[in-house]
Each structure stands twice: as C-alpha cells, then as structure tokens.
C-alpha cells in the first residue's frame, strides 16, 4: 500500500529518465536519473502524502535511493 503511494509521489515529482512502472522497489533512483534537486521535492511530497516530517538525520542519499528504502524510513517514523 505505502509503496504504491510512494510510486505515485515519484511519478509526480522525481523527474526520472525512465518510466517509474519499469523500476523494481529496490531500484537505484539516482541511477534512474533522480537529481538532488528532485529528491528534495520527493521528500516534501512524501511528507505531505504521509503527513509526517523526516528528521534531519534521515536526510541523506541512502534513505531516498530506492522506493524500498523510503518505505523503510516511513515505516520507522509511523511505527
């Protein structure tokens, strides 16, 4: 469920070089063309969609490198 929501956010904000539907949950989004600038928009949109705030300690490349990693971070914050 939450992965689908993450997919939708990425579709709208990640500005990938490829179609998000072709990517696995653990695919490297930076390799798929997500820039640092776009990743900030993804974070903002995820905060809005899931009604949460990512603390600064989570704001690093590895947390947003794949949908699975984002899902794990969101699970941790909503647990």
């Amino acid at each position: 469920m939450s992965i689908e929501k993450i997919r939708q956010v990425l579709k709208d904000h990640a500005r990938l070089a490829v179609d998000i539907a072709t990517l696995a949950d653990d695919a490297d989004l930076y390799e798929a063309g997500m820039t640092s600038h776009a990743s900030v928009n993804v974070m903002l949109a995820l905060e809005d969609a899931f009604d949460l705030e990512f603390p600064d300690r989570m704001l690093k490349r590895s947390v947003f490198e794949s949908m699975a990693a984002m899902d794990a971070a969101i699970q941790e914050l909503t647990a």
């Binding site: 070089a17 930076y30 390799e31 798929a32 063309g33 997500m34 820039t35 640092s36 600038h37 900030v40 974070m43 903002l44 905060e47 705030e53 990512f54 603390p55 600064d56 300690r57 704001l59 690093k60 490349r61 590895s62």
Partner: protein, 397 residues
C-alpha cells in the same frame, strides 16, 4: 628526500613556506602579468615531493593530513595564488584517488608512480552544455571488449581545464555508459600518453591568471581498470566538495593574510613616522584583523569537523553524505569567498593610493583581482540555490 622516508607535518609545511617565499613570490607578478603557468614554483613543489604529500606512507607518500595541505595552501596563497590553486586542485584529485580508489591494484601502482614521478593531475569536470554543474555530464564512457581486456574511449568538450596543457594526467567525469542518466557519473583517470587536448579558446582573465584554464576538447582512451568503481555521486559529497571548499578556503586565507600583512606594514610605517600617536589607519587595521580571525576560525572549525568525520569508518554512508552537512560545507565556501574581497578591499583603503598603485610594495591589485575569483569558481549563486532547495526540507532538529 628518498621516497621511503615519510616527513613530519612541520617539515612539509616548512618546505612549502620556503618555496612560497623564495620561488613562488619571485615569479608571482610575472605569472599574473603574462597569464602564464607558475612553472618554477610547481617544479620546486615536485622536487620537494609535495605533490604526493597526501599519499599514505604504505604507498610511498608522506601521509600528510588534510590540515597540513590546507596550511600549505595558505602559505602558497600568500605569495602566489595561482601556484596555490594549482597545488590545491591537484591535491583534490590525489585525495579522491587515495580515499576512493586505493584499494584497487591499478590505482595502488599509479599512486606509487605518482610518488616517484610527481605527476601533476588536472580535473576535467566542466563541460559544454552543463557548464559549471559538476554533478552532470553529457559525454559518456564507451567501453569495448578487445582481446583479453576491456578498453574505453571518451570524448569531452570541456569549458575549462585548469593547467590542462601543463598537467601530466587528467581525472575526468563522464556518464557511466551511453544510456546512463546525466547525473550517473563515473570518474576516470586518463594518462598523458592516452589523451589529446585541442585548445578551444584563451584564458585571459581578471585574476587567477596563472592557473591557465582555457577550454579544451579532450579525446582519451584507456583500460577499464581506470574507471573508478565508486559512483562519482558518492565521492563528490563525501570528498570532492568538502575537500575543495577547505583547500580553497586555505588559499583564500592566504590571499587575505597577504593583503592584511601589507596593511600592517603600512600602518607600522605611519606609526614610525610619527612616534607617540596612533595613526587613524590603526583602527581600521584592528577591524580588519578581527575579520581575518573570524574567517580563519570558521575554516578551522569545518576542517577539524571534516577530518573527524572522514576518519570515521562509516563516513561514506554517514554524516558526510547528509543534507545538513552539504549545507554546512556549502556555507563555508560562500562565506569565505564573500569575506575575502571585503578583507582585501579594506586593506586597500588602509594603504590608500600606495595600495592602488601597481608599482608600490603595498599594491593590492593582484590580491583584489584574485580575490574576486572566489565567489565565481563554482558560482555562489549556484551554491545558494542548492542551499535554498535543501532548506525547504531541513529542520535543524
């Protein structure tokens, strides 16, 4: 000094200071006037084996710390900013190789050879179409399997390569493959015998004239081992960006100190001419020394923190690759590069017409022109735009 002997930090710094005062200073005005490479000083740095200073003793180098290199940059920057900038840019490449490629046999051998031959490495990150955006490339690595090894070819239209014509080897960014996204970059060392450079323009600038940084068309080839396995994105955030900002800040401190030292000498001369009274310029000098100290303190604080974080075992995944750290190290660059021209400008006001004259020992011309490069090399507006974007999500929690 034989390559096997590792020198202490104080010895390295003393050697650099002596080269700065005796060689770099002697030629600094000619280097600036003629926009020529500071060959004498770079040759002296090679002779003293300072180009391999950062390489660990296990590979034959002196095992110097980043702090030592920053101090060397300041010493060189006081006397010839072009020499200091060439030294700093070379060290950024060496540090990147040591930190991210030295577990690979090809690079281990290369670093050993660098100690022996004191190769000078230039950086090729800028590119027509992406301009000064280091984290994007248009060109790509083209790999071909031949006989028993994989070869690569690479063509890059670089908007600027500092000391491109004088460098031995080049460290180049390119998209990892033909179908890679423009931010999916590899870093590749190419050897002098395997590349050609076609100069596409001139380098006739306001300051930093001796860095000799015109545009070039680069055509290179090599073997796959030369393509560093770690993605450039990871090296960039944990090493290239912070190390660049710290070494440049070292140079800028040196330029600031040179200007302030001229102002000090000017005020002392005024005081001696009229003993018993404090000249009005002394108050301005007091202000200026205060600003210089603030600049030094912020560089030092970031340097100490970076060295601690970089020594931590999980540095690559930890704080160095986080957004709060990117913001902080970007702030250092913006702040020191803004404060530098202010310091030189105030030193000029203290020295007055003697600072304005080109043929005076108090001349500020070169320092002021060099100082204005700081805000432009990686443009501060570009950096502030990145920070503005980061601040949309950072909370300082």
């Amino acid at each position: 000094m034989p390559a096997s002997t590792s020198a202490s930090a104080s010895t390295l710094i003393a050697q650099a200071k002596s080269i700065a005062k005796e060689i770099a200073a002697t030629h600094a005005d000619a280097v600036d006037k003629d926009s020529r490479f500071p060959q004498e000083a770079i040759t002296a740095l090679k002779d003293a084996q300072l180009l391999s200073a950062y390489i660990p003793a296990s590979l034959g180098g002196a095992g110097a710390s980043l702090s030592t290199l920053v101090e060397i940059c300041e010493a060189l920057g006081q006397h010839c900013s072009a020499t200091a900038m060439v030294f700093a840019m070379h060290q950024i490449q060496v540090i990147t190789l040591v930190r991210h490629a030295s577990d690979h046999p090809w690079y281990q051998q290369y670093l050993r050879d660098l100690v022996t031959h004191q190769y000078l490495i230039a950086s090729v990150t800028s590119e027509v179409g992406v301009g000064g955006e280091m984290r994007r490339s248009s060109c790509h690595v083209q790999q071909d399997d031949k006989q028993n090894s994989t070869q690569f070819k690479l063509v890059k239209n670089a908007t600027t390569i500092s000391y491109g014509a004088q460098a031995d080897d080049l460290l180049v960014t390119a998209r990892r493959s033909e179908d890679a996204a423009n931010n999916d970059q590899s870093l590749i060392l190419v050897r002098k015998a395997d590349y050609s450079l076609e100069q596409k323009g001139e380098w006739d600038t306001m300051g930093m004239r001796g860095t000799c940084s015109p545009p070039f068309l680069l055509s290179a080839s090599g073997v796959a081992e030369q393509i560093i396995a770690t993605p450039f994105a990871d090296m960039s955030s944990v090493t290239v960006v912070p190390v660049s900002h710290l070494l440049w800040s070292g140079i800028w401190q040196g330029i600031a100190a040179a200007a302030v030292n001229k102002a000090r000498a000017f005020v002392r001369a005024q005081a001696r001419a009229n003993p018993g009274t404090t000249p009005p310029t002394a108050l301005r000098l007091a202000e200026l020394v205060c600003t210089l100290q603030t600049m030094r303190t912020s560089v030092q604080a970031c340097l100490i923190e970076y060295e601690q974080l970089a020594a931590a075992p999980d540095a690559a995944q930890g704080i160095l690759s986080s957004m709060p750290y990117a913001l902080k190290i970007n702030n250092l660059k913006v702040e020191t590069s803004q404060i530098l021209p202010q310091i030189v400008g105030k030193a000029l006001l203290i020295c007055g017409i003697l600072g304005y004259k080109n043929d005076s020992k108090f001349s500020m011309s070169r320092h002021l022109r060099d100082a204005h490069s700081a805000a432009l090399m990686v443009g501060n507006d570009r950096i502030l735009a990145t920070n503005a974007n980061l601040l949309l999500i950072l909370k300082d929690d």
